[in-house]
């Protein structure tokens, strides 16, 4: 499946998360190896998005820790997470609706832009050079995702499938080491799904990005991923290769709704 997989890049240990009385995650541990495509699946409400939010630093778990590239932390701010090299897409698209597709992608490169306020105010000189430099990189991503024709369209006006693609582009613009995709295929038809699968595979193949993927479509999961983790009611109930997981008793029970 593309590149050769390396050692663990992300380790989630014993994460417990609750909101008031509602338990979202209970002692969840898993690891993600470098360059792999890792899927997280489970019935609705299993806590998959919550887990991503913990990794991102939006939610702070009551117990447990997350290590990324060897650095362990319990509480961290979202923008620090971005600095460390994690990018993400969202279940309900989180694009900047007032901006064009191009601007959304350019915003994705904010961390890499260094020119200060004075340069920006004057524009000609350092700021302009930097702007053009990053524009060139962003255009590579635009070519890669085949969205040249909608560069200047405000994203609010784009159809759903294209919005998802632009959101992927914004995440890629940050050149992340770890990419978290929250239901990237949701709401798409067959063609769009095939395109998205192709992009995900290419991102992993060409850029070597490690990918963690939440997805409901089983065929997509089985085809794309190296390893799969299954969550149910906030607990991890299975972890392994797609084949192993597919035949796991607890997983079948969870999906069929058998009382357990």
């Amino acid at each position: 499946m593309g590149r050769s997989v390396g050692g663990p890049i992300l380790e989630v240990e014993g994460i417990s998360l609750s909101f008031g009385g509602v338990v979202a995650l209970q002692a969840v541990s898993l690891d993600v190896r470098e360059h792999e495509i890792r899927a997280i699946i489970g019935p609705n409400g299993a806590g998959k998005s919550s887990l991503l939010n913990v990794i991102n630093g939006f939610y702070h778990p009551q117990k447990g820790s997350v290590s990324f590239k060897g650095r362990k932390r319990r509480r961290v701010d979202p923008h620090e997470v971005a600095q460390q090299g994690i990018a993400r897409t969202f279940q309900n698209i989180a694009l900047f609706r007032g901006m064009t597709a191009l601007d959304n992608l350019m915003t994705g490169r904010t961390l890499k832009m260094k020119s200060n306020f004075l340069h920006q105010a004057v524009y000609w000189g350092a700021a302009r050079r930097e702007e053009l430099e990053h524009r060139a990189k962003v255009e590579e991503i635009i070519d890669f995702l085949e969205i040249q024709h909608i560069r200047r369209t405000p994203v609010g006006q784009l159809p759903y499938g294209l919005q998802k693609r632009v959101e992927l582009g914004r995440a890629l613009a940050a050149e992340p080491d770890l990419l978290l995709l929250d239901e990237p295929m949701a709401g798409m038809n067959i063609e769009e799904k095939q395109d998205m699968c192709r992009f995900v595979l290419d991102v992993n193949d060409q850029f070597g990005t490690t990918i963690v993927l939440i997805e409901h479509d089983m065929s997509v999961v089985m085809d794309l991923s190296d390893r799969v983790a299954v969550l149910d009611y906030g607990r991890k109930i299975a972890d392994g290769t797609p084949d192993e997981v597919r035949h796991h008793r607890a997983v079948i029970d969870a999906y069929l709704g058998v009382a357990h």
Binding site: F96, G98, T107, T110, A127, E131, A136
Partner: protein, 358 residues
């Protein structure tokens, strides 16, 4: 047919990123600037300069400041009047302490004082969002209004609690005070406004503008990209207040010639806010269009009846303009929430295909 871009290919990203990528726009802006800098001084009357052009330019600058904060960064502010006042009084005190320094330098410096005050009142924006932040800016507005009356040091202990502008010269020509001619004042205001608008345009099309808009559109996602919310919001407050402060200083020194504490009260804040709403939130052009409309409307209303041979008291015209402005705001919000600027864009779109309908 006039506005076609056919044949205008951008062969570099630089050309694509330019402020005016289309040739017709470039010609247009050059014509406007030529007219503004050369044509107007030669042809306009003192009345037009003093009562129309200078006020509209000054108010446009304040509207630009507010637009950066509310339109681009999404932070509703009702403290604009107060920040303008800070700039005005700061400039006044600076002229008292440094009577020999160039007045233009002092006007620009007073912007920094306003920026500092604006940043302080923007501090709550870390914890507070939306309507609630508007209340913090209201606190700023009422507190500053109170200060302008209650701190006599600000107006040099003048008995009438107002400030009179001293005469200042530039290259020997009086630019402020009673002897300064409208043309001189107009040119200085125009230059400052043009320069600061260019800076605003640069900020808005680059990294800083994008971070502001990202914070406005979805701050959670912005954080995830690495944008530091607090710094971004405070910068917006600082830059916006700078613009408002300079506008306030110009209002006193280059337009009215004097000021009272009442000049910078809550009504001023509302006035500028309406200019931004009607002109178009998030559009620099909109700031100018909104200022022109809201300032120009009462003037037109006062002049129109005479045009038709009717006679209306100025108070009635004033009240009628309230009614019309109120109705206009509602009208625009229903028909085009993005204001005059969007209407302008739509107009240009139609020009592209004219005389065809689509």
């Amino acid at each position: 047919m006039l506005y076609r871009e056919v044949g205008q290919y951008k062969t570099s990203y630089g050309a694509d990123q330019a402020l005016f990528p289309i040739l017709q726009d470039r010609i247009g802006i050059t014509v406007i600037l030529l007219f503004a800098f050369v044509g107007v001084p030669l042809t306009a009357s003192s009345f037009t300069l003093d009562s129309v052009l200078i006020p509209v330019l000054v108010l446009s600058l304040a509207a630009t400041g507010l637009n950066l904060l509310t339109g681009f960064t999404g932070l509703l502010s009702l403290g604009t009047g107060g920040f303008m006042g800070v700039g005005a009084f700061a400039c006044y005190k600076l002229t008292t302490f440094f009577p020999n320094v160039n007045i233009i330098v002092l006007i620009l410096c007073s912007g920094f004082f306003a920026a500092a005050v604006g940043t302080v009142f923007g501090l709550p924006s870390l914890r507070i969002k939306g309507f609630y932040l508007a209340v913090a800016t209201l606190a700023a507005q009422f507190f500053l209004s109170w200060c302008f009356i209650r701190i006599p040091w600000l107006y040099n202990y003048n008995v009438s609690a107002s400030i009179e502008v001293p005469t200042k010269t530039l290259l020997g020509i009086p630019v402020t005070g009673p002897t300064a001619s409208p043309v001189t004042r107009y040119l200085i205001v125009l230059s400052i406004v043009a320069l600061l608008t260019l800076v605003a345009a640069n900020l808005v099309r680059g990294r800083i503008g994008r971070t502001w808009m990202a914070v406005r559109d979805m701050d959670l996602a912005a954080q995830l990209i690495g944008i530091r919310l607090y710094q971004t919001k405070l910068l917006a407050f600082a830059v916006s207040s700078f613009y408002c402060g300079v506008a306030g200083a110009m209002m006193v020194f280059l337009w009215l010639g004097n000021a009272e504490s009442e000049s910078f009260n809550i009504n001023q804040s509302f006035l500028i806010l309406f200019m931004v709403i009607i002109g178009g939130l998030g559009s620099l052009l909109g700031s100018f269009l909104g200022a022109a409309l809201i300032w120009g409307l009462p003037i037109v209303l006062r002049a129109a009846p005479a045009f038709f041979g009717l006679r209306i008291q100025s108070a009635t015209a004033e009240q009628a303009s309230f009614v019309i402005v109120g109705a206009l705001i509602i009208f625009f919000l229903i028909v085009e929430p993005h204001g005059l600027a969007r209407l302008w864009q739509i107009g240009k779109q139609k020009l592209r295909v004219w005389p065809f309908p689509y």
